[in-house]
């Protein structure tokens, strides 16, 4: 057992804060991608058409880990109902980038990131299960948390919370 490593990846290896260079390099090929910041975290808003192409470019730029894929249902608050969010992490440059895209309610389909990052497989299945978003090219897009025969997608805003009526039985009669 040792502490520290001589490998390239990891906190003790050589690294430079290259956020600006990495992002500038990423922005070059994609004119329609807008970069912004929220709470000091970088966000890239990508059109749905170039979702996978941008992810591929990001992977080449050094984002070797796809931490997370999730979605937000904006219902009527925004013109495009669903927002897909992927959290990318670059261990090499020690930066995070959140990539988001929006898709409409009629055809909620985006390309899958599974061919780039196999780790996105479970996460995309969860998003499909919870929001009903289709990931094109996912090897096995089935329900993961809910039962297979479940109707609807629970984390959509129009899916009711549901409640179990409390049954009062065998209660003593009070005079």
């Amino acid at each position: 057992m040792r502490s520290g490593t001589s490998g390239q990846i990891g906190w003790s290896g050589d690294w430079e804060p290259q956020m600006n260079q990495v992002l500038a390099g990423l922005a070059e090929g994609f004119e329609d991608v807008t970069f912004s910041q929220s709470q000091g975290q970088d966000i890239a808003s990508v059109p749905a058409e170039s979702w996978k192409a941008f992810a591929e470019a990001a992977k080449k730029a050094g984002f070797e880990v796809c931490c997370d894929v999730t979605a937000v249902d904006w219902m009527r608050q925004r013109p495009e109902r669903f927002e897909i969010v992927a959290n990318l992490l670059s261990m090499r440059h020690r930066i995070r980038l959140r990539v988001s895209t929006t898709i409409g309610r009629e055809d909620p389909t985006v390309e899958s990131l599974t061919p780039l990052w196999p780790g996105a497989g479970f996460a995309e299945r969860e998003v499909y299960d919870m929001f009903g978003i289709i990931f094109d090219g996912h090897p096995d897009l089935t329900r993961i948390l809910m039962p297979d025969d479940w109707d609807g997608h629970p984390l959509r805003k129009d899916f009711g919370v549901g409640s179990v009526p409390v049954q009062f039985k065998e209660s003593h009669k009070v005079d």
């Binding site: 057992m1 490593t5 709470q39 608050q77 809910m146 025969d149 003593h172």
Partner: protein, 455 residues
Amino acid sequence: MADETTIDSANETPETVDLWVAGTEEAEFQPTTEGDQEIGSAESKERLAEQFGSVVEDDYVFDDEVADDDRMIVNMGPQHPSTHGVLRLQIELEGEIIRRTKPIIGYLHTGMEKTAEQLTFGQGPTNVTRMDYLAPLHCELAYSLAVESLLGIEVPERAAAIRILMTELNRISSHLVALATNGMDIGALSMMLYGFRERESILAFFEKTTGLRMNHNYIRPGGVAADLAPGWKDDVSAILADLPGRLDQYDDLLKENPIWLARTRGVGVISQEEAIAFSITGPILRATGVDWDLRKVFPYSGIEKYEFEVITGENGDVYDRYRVRVLEIVESLKIVEQVMNAMPKGDYRVDDRKVTPPPRARIDESMEALIHHFKLFTEGFKVPPGETYVAVESPRGELGCYLVSDGKANPYRMHTRAPSFYNLQSLPITMADSLMADTVATIASMDPVMGDVDR
């Protein structure tokens, strides 16, 4: 007369009223399609590659000579003592050798992300603390940091130090359970007893400080729920004095134990490339040799002030994961000692009346305090619109909280990046081409918490 009535009422059974609410009758039994004993018929090519564990590195040797009769599908779980909860695996065997694994999860899904949208920001920790029930304080910390990031407030130094003290103690207790169950699954039963015994001393300290042994709801947006109990230094000192000696005993028990070595060395190996491709974090990633620790890289809550090492392994097998956990306990003890000695004085909650409820005594004196108390506990505090992602290093890896607010008192969306969920995804890779007898060792070394996986 009075006697008669009592005799009468004693003979009669009490009258009962059946308050049955319509529409709550149990639904008719409908068999589901779950429980198929087939995992080969309708899988796509890519899916098969994943189940064979040959997505990143193709080390699968397919033997065409084997007749179909020699392949057998074994269903393990969800009710199996060694699956650490309700994990279900479908395993395709070729004799003694595992060829294909398919993890099936969701048996403990309780819709906590949906629940979080119904609760106010102040009530949120009560919900998230039940996700990873072996590291509840880490879940609360990730959530609280996310809310504070959106609110733009910074907690006092003492609150930050208390948070580090509690989460590092929690890491020790969680790793002790991991060691205990790992030992039990492989056959070192005494390890189970020892691990839980030591954990008890930490849980007793938690109970003294937070009021509960688990599901604390202690770390809240704006600070912590209560200050450390009087005499906390003695309790922590006792833990610090006891544990290193006990850890040496475990090393005597396991470290060079030939049976232990035979059961763990070279078992459940995962390579660096595979671990990174499958978004694995925490001790499992570090056991492969990548020294990636969020406490060092993206420090939170002032943990950069304390000195500790990042422990890495070399081979990424079960033994290295066990060693990484043992040595991480030692590092966490170092942090706890430093926090204890340098505990700053001051308030344990942020001085912001819109977030921190007023103390009980003030409510009797001040109308203002009463109004704030009422508003905070009925409506909750409003959080400005925005989105944030905050991650902490939980005992199982990167525990992130993605929080979206639309300006109301409830989160618009709360998503937890659960480390066990992603670590579990790599089970087919770690288990491919290994022996059936090693399955339990591999699962135990992944240390999955099903509450965290299914949420």
